[in-house]
């Protein structure tokens, strides 16, 4: 490259960096569109509206919530990608669209097409079995599954199944996986004795243990709180056993080309919103736990989540 060209390239880069820093300094100077890619009334929608109620107090700008559901939450994601990478279109999502994008051979974009702003909450995956079974703990479950490959059936939704399958892979056991659309359907079939085990979130597990079920293991990276662990009979933690694990977060993302400065600022704003008393009260009433992970830590965790889903998907979908 000629010296004059190098100079021009350096000047362009420098100018764009300066412009981006200047833009980030003013950010946000207008209303932010916050996409909830699920229908009104669901968890993502309630979180979005709760955060939007304090947005103006935190960043002097309002947040407009738009529900754009469809195609397993990927329609809303696609809408975000159509907007400029300026941090004014933000999405709050869950593992659902990642699963859809990983399992779909002709997906319109990949699960890496988002820059992670923060995780705001997460749920744990717990495997439950009936109290009267012969596998009353994880070790006996593993021993039985090794002696009888494919004989134990486990029903759950896709997210919890990913965590369970990673734990089964770590132990090299073969469990018959039965996919369900909703946790309530899998719980019904479990209580009716039609499946041997289920994968559920901790809140569902708390409703069922100890009368209806025993907690075998927490298959997620996040440990249980001491109080919850005690109520569930202190099940082992897959991460502590050295298994490969993932988290199931509620994540906030923006267009992948958004500058780091804007993402950093937005991440700090989201963290500040979560600290507002009204947000803590409402989420507490919703039965949700605030678990804030800022952007630098959330991005690698998100990538691990995508990798975990990619690894477990073939065993679950049979593809």
């Amino acid at each position: 490259m000629k010296p004059i060209m190098k100079l021009m390239a350096a000047a362009t880069l420098g100018l764009s960096a300066l412009t981006s820093t200047a833009i980030a300094e003013d950010y946000p100077d207008k209303t932010i569109t916050w996409i909830a890619p699920f229908s009104a009334g669901g968890g993502a929608d309630r979180w979005s509206r709760t955060l939007s109620s304090v947005a103006f107090d935190v960043m002097d700008q309002a947040m407009r919530v738009r529900n754009i559901p469809g195609a397993s939450a990927t329609v809303g994601w696609g809408e975000m990608l159509k907007q400029p990478a300026d941090g004014y279109t933000v999405m709050l999502s869950s593992p659902t669209p990642i699963i859809a994008l990983v399992t779909e051979p002709n997906a319109p974009f990949g699960p890496d097409e988002a820059k992670i702003v923060a995780f705001i909450s997460a749920f744990r995956g717990i495997i439950l079995v009936k109290p009267e079974t012969e596998w009353s703990d994880w070790d006996s479950f593993v021993a039985y599954a090794k002696a009888n490959p494919g004989k134990i059936s486990l029903g759950s939704t896709f997210s919890e199944m990913v965590g369970a399958q990673l734990a089964f892979d770590s132990e090299g056991i073969d469990v018959n996986l039965i996919p369900y659309d909703s946790t309530s359907d899998s719980v019904t079939d479990f209580l009716g004795g039609h499946v041997d085990a289920i994968g559920v979130t901790e809140s569902t597990a708390l409703n069922m243990v100890p009368e209806e079920a025993l907690a075998l293991i927490n298959v997620t990276t996040l440990p249980l709180s001491e109080e919850v662990a005690a109520k569930l009979g202190n099940p082992p933690h897959a991460a502590a056993l050295g298994y490969e694990t993932i988290n199931f977060p509620r994540w906030v993302g923006v267009h992948p080309d958004t500058s780091d400065e804007i993402v950093e600022k937005l991440s700090a704003h989201v963290g500040a919103m979560l600290e507002q008393e009204s947000v803590q009260t409402i989420t507490g009433k919703m039965g949700e736990e605030i678990i804030f992970v800022p952007w630098q830590e959330a991005q690698p965790q998100y990538e691990a989540l995508v990798a975990g889903i990619r690894k477990a998907a073939p065993a679950i979908t049979g593809k």
Partner: protein
Amino acid sequence: MSIDYDALMLAFSMVFQVETILWMMAGIAVGVGVGAMPGLQSSTAVALMLPLTFNMPAATALGLLIGLYKGSVYGGSISAISFATPGAPESAATVADGHALMRQGKGKKALHMALYSSVTADFLSDVLTILMAPALALLALKFGPSERSWVLILAITLIGALSGRKLSKGMFSAALGLYIGTMGSDPIGMVPRNTFNLWWLRDGIPLPPLVIGIFAMSMVYQELLRPEVVGSTKQKLADVGALLKSKSEGLKLHEFLRCWKEIGIGLGVGSFVGLLPGLGATVGAFLSYAVAKQASPHKGFGEGALEGVAAAEAGNNATVGPTLVPLIAFGIPGSATAALIGGALVMQGATPSPRMFTLFPEIIYSLFIILLIGNIANLFIGRFFAGIYARLGEVPRRYLIPLIGLMAVMGTYSYQQNPYHVIIMLGMGLIGLAFRMFRIPEAPLVIAFMIAPLAEQNLRKAHLISREDWFTTLFNSPLSIGLAVACALSLYVSIRFQIASRVRAEKDD
């Protein structure tokens, strides 16, 4: 289940507060309005009002949400009868007879029949829920994927009854419904099927755009093809004058009592369907209608029979109470609306679980009392709305048709604010138009569309659980075998019914 009288008294004092009763009535009034708007469903109404309950006492919150639920399930029938536009998918089975009555000038009768049969079946199914919730919940648990597959196959065998005299047309309609039902990701492997490489079809075709397109938009297209729809200004003014003076006749007691059999069928079928997860009010309504039609083929179902309105409306409202059974007994919501009501209970610190009867008996009793008195409030508020809508439904076609078109588009869009759904609805309207032109029945399409994915899902789950052994998949319990026999019997009766109606038709000719 022994009654905790202290908790019962406490529940009475919690429910019979002015605040609770007023919020319940407000819930019913809003629910009827929401239900009458196509695309807006009971779950949408409950979801939107849920944040209001965060700071309410438990009974008041339940009053508002149950009121909304009951009001919106009845409200769906108002626009089905008045405008042939089902306010919610569960009212689609009411369109044929309800709107035919409206066109005969008997709209008020149809609306009253819908209300009375809804309230009667709802009340009796609530009593059933209260008396037998734990026992019913245990019964529901016996139905695993294999048994549920047979129940769904049983429903498919009733498609013959929905086909009228032309079985071949009914089968064509069902086949098309089956095909549309397979669009989207397959329920187990998540492999996209029949999506024409359109990404937005990954979730398949949702029920509201399909139902609105098939029943309402098709009528708009059909009327637009007739030049006489557009009239002069003078004519329009005369029409409005006539409308204001018109007074249609309400339902008589003997007409209501005449439909006891259809309401009974609706109560039985709806309660059973409501108990099983995933089926819901739409299946309840269509199945009840099909069974009632099969039981009384001579009553002119589909041509403006009050019995048809009674069977469909009793069938969908009878699912309301039993849908809450799994929530009360196990903490498992049986439907989207039940899940939202469960969410409201969590907010009140009463997390639904198998221990609810022990831990929060006063809340369970409050729920029971509200379920019952909600029906009485629904009756009075519903009657008020019925009077208004009966007149609106008699608006001359030239005004009504653009209004229906507008409601269809707005209602479809408001369902999930997804513009693709409007495209689907307009496309379904063209299919519905072809059905009208060639006199193909719509009901088999809707029922096959709904049941096929559920049947596939359950059958494939049963197949996976039995480790791909077909015999165990199909006959894994005495209940499965009993249901298989019931399917064979239903098929036999259906064929006999078809042969008998053909012979009768030939004699008439």
